[in-house]
Amino acid sequence: MSSEFRNTVRANLAKPEVRANFYRAMDGLMTRRLDQFPDKAELERLRTQSMAIRANALSKLPELLETLEANLTRNGIQVHWAETTDQANQIVLSILQKHNAKSIIKGKSMVSEEMGMNHFLEALGIECLESDLGEFIIQLDGETPSHIIMPAIHKNRVQIAKLFHEKFPDIPYTEDVDELTQMARRILRDKFYATTVGLSGVNFMVAETGTLCLVENEGNGRMSTTAPSVHIAVTGIEKVVESLSDVPPLLSILTRSATGQPITTYFNMISSPRKPGEKDGPEEVHLVLLDNGRSNIYSDPELLATLRCIRCGACINHCPVYVRIGGHSYGTVYPGPIGSILEPQKAGLDVHGELAQASTLCGACSEVCPVRIPIPSILNRLRYDGVRKDAANTNTVGSGKRRTLSEAATWKTWAWAATHPTIYHAGSTLATRFKGMLPTNLGAWTSVRSAPKLAESTLHQQAKNLGVDHE
């Protein structure tokens, strides 16, 4: 049985360099995270608190979005709403056109990846420059991010050195990380200087004060949101928190879970465009609120937990599947465990439902999730939604579309036999008589295991022989 997903996985499993890069990277991230949480009891309290903050915000989502919008607007920030990525792209385009801008410099935004914004704008002759070092690297190579926090994690320094030398042949070849970084600094400084429109994502938005909060280490986020005369922020509707006091605990658990840092170099809190008398900062600040399937996820009380995500990437870092197949195998914007629950819900189980299958349900992800998203439960629920007969009873997009008659018939037969003891026992006794005739080659199952060997007699028979009374 094969699909595009499985073929890609197989191909990526066979790349030792990629696998080595991911092993090294994930090991490092997991260790650094552990170092930040020496007190386990305290960690659990913080996780419960973070879950409570996000669950509280979601429980009041429409009201908080209205309060956020009112406060942002009062502060001078313009708020736009987009149901689809098409609408979001059109909003960004119209702002660029209003300012006759032919280029846009980007901080870092996964939502802009969701929008396919770079492709959309480039097709219209507008240059999109990535300024985050990892995004800059993969943009040079024409690739997509393989991780939500560290987009170039699949590349090692030699690959990056060769790439830089290929794209900037005037600069001598170097594998020194500092020199490569300084190259990027010089090139991008000119871009920050010259570009009129900057784009960023949003890590948290605070309804109480009308504030957009951004997390970063490099300074490119601050550059993209301060140097240009227009700043556009794009984000999902679920990223709002109720109060300013919600921010410190979330920030602390976010940075420690993501990269094992007590805090990132910069935490940037934007509440308005340039005010009269101020000498820098954008004259215009825009926020684009994107739905793209989130309001549908919101309608299901069990699946709603998906929206608590603060995009730390810890689940990705701890996933035994991700570390082996790599981010690009998923074929989606968000990879790993969060991608496996989010993407099928956004695009439909018929499109990405197979991602929910690619898990052993080991639970490593849910153990580290700072907001306690029960990822394995949700994966199970999505597997069920994919094959359920009563698709009308659930809002999940693509419900029932993964149901096949042969699988349904197999389970129905098993269920019938399991609920009719005489038949069941007759069947298992028969199996012990004919065990020599069972096939030992069961395709994929036995390619990595020995075939199961049936016993001489069934457990029921053995128990009876021993005089065990099962009443």
């Binding site: 560290m150 400084r189 602390s252 007590p262």
Partner: protein, 216 residues
């Protein structure tokens, strides 16, 4: 279009029944018993761990420290506001420092010089956070946002009596909500860095390569 989208999105979010929940766990506050000395020690450790320079000084000696730092780094100029309390003191002894520049026009008028001709900037801070080794900087009319971002060296003074234990404590003690949030509030926790190349730390990516903190 945006208004229709807005109406549709909010309508969809209002459809499902929402449970009543208390969420009292939101208010949990990590407790530390750090006195001033401990806060200074922790702050310094965190800053040094990310390659920031930390100097301990007093209201009488901090100007000496700035002067020494500028000389040690071979700075040819220093961007300093003449309007702030600390900036005025610096300007009053201008001869001890490299050529002092001022950010007294909108960025559009002198962007080239700021981006390519300024060696270092000096700013004050509105507080600090010991737990994470963080400066709280709130840019203003006198000390604009790009001062602590563009020049390759950032020198900042932090008054120890405004060094809080945690971010939550700072927000509460300084009444950020009641005061209203400024245009831009910044937490700065070291020089700019990245680990995007093989998870190896490299400093001075886009923000300042060097951060010098003077505690008084």
């Amino acid at each position: 279009m945006s208004n229709t989208a807005r109406a549709n999105i909010l309508a969809r979010l209002r459809e499902p029944q929402r449970p009543e929940c208390g969420f009292s766990e939101r208010d949990y506050l990590s407790r530390y018993d750090w006195d001033t000395a401990e806060r200074v020690k922790r702050f310094t450790e965190r800053m040094v761990a990310v390659r920031a320079e930390v100097h301990h000084a007093t209201p009488e000696t901090w100007l000496d420290v700035v002067s020494q730092v500028c000389a040690a780094k071979g700075l040819s100029n220093l961007l300093v506001s003449p309007e702030t309390v600390l900036g005025k003191q610096l300007h009053a002894q201008a001869e001890r420092f490299p050529a002092l520049k001022t950010y007294d026009q909108p960025i559009e008028s002198w962007k080239q010089e700021l981006f390519y001709g300024v060696d270092a900037a000096f700013t004050g801070t509105t507080g600090g956070i010991a737990e994470t080794g963080t400066l709280i900087v709130m840019p203003s009319v006198d000390e604009p946002r790009l001062m602590s971002l563009v020049p390759p060296v950032h020198i900042a003074v932090l008054e120890v009596d405004r060094l809080y234990t945690t971010f939550a404590e700072a927000v509460q003690a300084q009444g950020w909500v009641q005061a209203g949030m400024p245009t831009n509030a910044l937490l700065i926790s070291g020089p700019s860095k990245s680990a995007d190349i093989e998870q190896t730390l490299a400093y001075g990516v886009h923000g300042p390569k060097e951060l010098v903190v003077i505690l008084i």
